[in-house]
C-alpha cells in the first residue's frame, strides 16, 4: 500500500503540482509521521499512512490545487486511512478499541507543543540503538528528513532495493521488539542522545567526505544532517552536546567551497583560501558553540570540543594567527574523554605548531606502536614532516618513503615521493 511519491508517473499537466507536493512533503513529512505515530503507536505504520496520504495528494492536488493548509489536509487523510486500515488489518485488531477511541476523539491536528514532543519521540525511536547503524541512518533520513528511498540509496551508493530493505527491516524491528514511541527517561537519556547525535554526524560525514561526488545526493547529505541537527537543537535547547554538534557541522560546512581546488584536488585546511569560507555559517557555528559551552558548564563533551577546535581555525583570518596552543589543549581534553591514536596524532601536529617540531615528535613516538595506526600513512607522513623540520633529513626520507608505500592514493604517493627526494637533495 505504501508507495513513494516518485514511484508514481507524474501526470503531465500535474508536473508542476507534483514538484510542489514534493516540497510540501519535505516540510511536513516529519511532523505528519510524528503526529500519526503517537496515534497508532507504530512508527512503521505511521510512515505508511503518511505515504498513503501523499499518494492521495498526488492524485487529487493536480486537479484541486494545493490546499491552503497542506499539513492539515495530509493529517486528515492519513487519519481516515488509519481507520480504513484498522478495519482491514488483523495485526491491529487487539488495539482496535483503544485506537478507534483515540482516533475518534483527537482533534484533526495535535497541538503544536504536542507535535514537538512527538517529533522528539520520533527522533529517539528512529535512532534506537536496537537498530543497526545502517538502519538508523536510513530510517532517520526517511521519517525525519523526508527523503525518498531512491534518494537514500543514491546518497549511500547502494541499490534502491537495499535501501528499501533497510527501512522495511528497521520498521519491522521496532514493531517486533515493541520499542516504545517515547523520549527516554533521564537515566537513559544521555546514552540514547549519543546515538541520535552519532546518526546525524554520520550522515554529515557521509556527505562531507564525498564533497562533490558523481552524484549530487551525497554532498546534499551535509545539508540534510545540518537541517536535522538544527531541528534537534530546537527540540532540545538545553542539551549542550546538541549545540556542540550543530556548531561542529556549521563550521565544517563553512569550508565546503574551499576544500577542493578548481582542478578537483583536495586542499588541506592550512592551504585553503579563507575568503571562500562561508562567514554566515561560521557565525552560526560560533553562536552555537557559545551556547554549548555555556550550557556545558565547563565540562564540554566531545562534539563541543571538536567544534571548539574547528572554531580556533575559523577565527583565524590568516593561518599564521591560528591558536595552536589552544587547539593542542582542546585535543588533550578530547583525549581524556575518548583517547584515540587519531586524536593523539592531531594533538602532536598542534603541539608541533605551537611549541616546535621536537615537542610534537615526542608525542608521536609515544603512539608509534599503536596497532590501529599500523597502516595509517599519515603517521609516517607527519613524522617525516617533523623530522624534516628538525633537519633530520635521512630519517625524514625513510618516513616519507614508508608513507608513500602505505597510501592508496596515487597523487598523494607522488607528493610523498617528491618530499622523500627533496630530503636526499637537501641532505
Amino acid at each position: 500500500m505504501a508507495s513513494d511519491a516518485d514511484d508514481q508517473p507524474p501526470a503531465r499537466r500535474g508536473a508542476e503540482t507534483h514538484r510542489a507536493i514534493e516540497a510540501v512533503w519535505r516540510i511536513e513529512a516529519a511532523r505528519l509521521i510524528a503526529g500519526l505515530a503517537r496515534l497508532v503507536r507504530d512508527v512503521g505504520l505511521a510512515e505508511e499512512l503518511a505515504q498513503d496520504a501523499l499518494v492521495a495528494a498526488l492524485e487529487q492536488w493536480p486537479e484541486s490545487g494545493v490546499p491552503r493548509n497542506p499539513g492539515a489536509w495530509l493529517m486528515t487523510v492519513s487519519k481516515r486511512r488509519a481507520i480504513d486500515l484498522i478495519r482491514r488489518n488483523e495485526r491491529l485488531e487487539r488495539n482496535l478499541i483503544e485506537l478507534g477511541h483515540r482516533l475518534g476523539t483527537e482533534e484533526d491536528l495535535p497541538q503544536v507543543d504536542e507535535i514537538e514532543d512527538d517529533l522528539l519521540r520520533l527522533v529517539f525511536t528512529a535512532c534506537h540503538p536496537t537498530l543497526s547503524m545502517d538502519a538508523r541512518v536510513a530510517l532517520t533520513l526517511r521519517v525525519l528528513g523526508g527523503l525518498t528511498t531512491d534518494e537514500i540509496a543514491r546518497a549511500f551508493l547502494v541499490p534502491e532495493s537495499t535501501a528499501a530493505q533497510r527501512i522495511v527491516r528497521a520498521k519491522r524491528t521496532l514493531a517486533d521488539r515493541k520499542i516504545p514511541f517515547e523520549v527516554p527517561q533521564a537515566a537513559e537519556l544521555s546514552a540514547r542522545l549519543e546515538s541520535v547525535l552519532e546518526v546525524i554526524y554520520l550522515i554529515f560525514n557521509e556527505g562531507y567526505s564525498a564533497t562533490a561526488g558523481d552524484d549530487w545526493m551525497r554532498p546534499a547529505l551535509c545539508e540534510d544532517a545540518l537541517r536535522l541537527g538544527r531541528v534537534l537543537a530546537g527540540l532540545m535547547p538545553e542539551e549542550p552536546e546538541v549545540h556542540g554538534l550543530v556548531a561542529l557541522m556549521e563550521i565544517q560546512a563553512s569550508r565546503s567551497a574551499a576544500r577542493v581546488s578548481p582542478s578537483g584536488e583536495p586542499v588541506l585546511l592550512l592551504d585553503q583560501d579563507r575568503a571562500r569560507w562561508d562567514r554566515l555559517l561560521i557565525h552560526r557555528g560560533l553562536t552555537a558553540l557559545e551556547r554549548a559551552e555555556k550550557l556545558g558548564d565547563g565540562a564540554p563533551g566531545p562534539y563541543t570540543l571538536q567544534a571548539a577546535i574547528a572554531a580556533c581555525h575559523a577565527r583565524a583570518l590568516d593561518p599564521e594567527d591560528t591558536d595552536w596552543a589552544g587547539i593542542a589543549s582542546l585535543y588533550e581534553a578530547l583525549a581524556k574523554l575518548s583517547r584515540s591514536p587519531i586524536v593523539e596524532l592531531n594533538r602532536a601536529v598542534a603541539l608541533s605548531m605551537a611549541y616546535g617540531p621536537a615537542v610534537g615528535l615526542q608525542l608521536l613516538d609515544q603512539i608509534a606502536g599503536e596497532p590501529s595506526l599500523k597502516d595509517y600513512h599519515l603517521l609516517p607522513s607527519v613524522r617525516g614532516d617533523l623530522l624534516f623540520k628538525l633537519g633530520r633529513r635521512e630519517e625524514a626520507r625513510t618516513e616519507f618513503e614508508r608513507a608513500a608505500d602505505m597510501t592508496r592514493n596515487a597523487r598523494e604517493r607522488a607528493l610523498l615521493q617528491e618530499r622523500a627526494t627533496a630530503c636526499r637533495e637537501a641532505g
Binding site: 514538484r19 510542489a20 514534493e22 516540497a23 510540501v24 519535505r26 516540510i27 514537538e116 562531507y208 567526505s209 564525498a210 564533497t211 562533490a212 561526488g213 558523481d214 552524484d215 549530487w216 554532498p219 546534499a220 545539508e223 545540518l226 537541517r227 536535522l228 541537527g229 538544527r230 531541528v231 530546537g234 527540540l235 565546503s256 567551497a257 576544500r259 577542493v260 582542478s263 578537483g264 584536488e265 583536495p266 588541506l268 585546511l269 592550512l270 571562500r276 554566515l280 555559517l281 552560526r284 581555525h313 587519531i342 596524532l345 592531531n346 602532536a348 601536529v349 598542534a350 595509517y376 599519515l378 607527519v382 592508496r408 592514493n409 596515487a410 597523487r411 598523494e412
Partner: protein, 146 residues
C-alpha cells in the same frame, strides 16, 4: 541550496509605520517555524530607504544618492535566507509568509543564492571526475588539521 525570500516594501514601510502587534506576532511565529524546521539561516528587517543610500555609476564615476528613493515599489523591507532542497520548497515556504490582508501587488521575491559549493557534478570533465574519486578516498579519513 540557498534561497533569499525578499519582502517588498511600500508606502507604509517607507513611512516607518510599525506593523500591528498581530502582524508582528504572526511574523515571529513564521520565523520560529522556519528555525524549527532547520531551514532558516538568517532573517532581517530593513529600515526605510531614508536611512540608506544608492550608488549610481556613469562613465566610470560613482555618485552617491541619499535615500529615500523614489520608486517605493522597487524597495525591499526585509529578507529571509533559507537553506532548502529545491526551488519548490523555497516557494512553498515563501507562500507561508504571513502577508497582512489587503496587500496587493508583488509582495515577495524568491531568489536563488549562488553557492560556491553548488557546482553540479556533470559539469566535471572525465579526468576531473577521476581526481574526484581519488579525493574521496583521501578525504575518507580525517587528516590532521582539516
Amino acid at each position: 541550496m540557498k534561497f533569499m525570500i525578499v519582502g517588498k516594501g511600500g508606502a507604509e514601510t517607507e513611512a516607518g509605520t510599525l506593523p500591528s502587534q498581530e502582524v508582528v506576532d504572526s511574523m515571529h511565529a513564521y520565523n520560529e517555524a522556519l528555525a524549527k524546521a532547520g531551514v532558516l539561516l538568517a532573517a532581517e528587517g530593513l529600515y526605510p530607504s531614508s536611512q540608506g543610500a544608492q550608488i549610481a555609476y556613469s562613465g566610470g564615476k560613482a555618485t552617491v544618492i541619499d535615500g529615500p528613493f523614489a520608486e517605493a515599489k522597487e524597495l525591499i523591507a526585509g529578507f529571509w535566507l533559507i537553506q532548502v532542497k529545491s526551488r519548490e520548497e523555497a516557494i512553498e515556504w515563501a507562500m507561508r509568509v504571513p502577508v497582512p490582508p489587503g496587500s496587493d501587488g508583488i509582495g515577495l521575491d524568491v531568489w536563488r543564492v549562488f553557492d560556491a559549493s553548488d557546482v553540479p557534478d556533470d559539469s566535471l570533465p572525465a579526468d576531473e571526475r577521476e581526481r574526484e574519486q581519488a579525493l574521496r578516498e583521501r578525504l575518507g579519513v580525517d587528516t590532521p588539521g582539516t
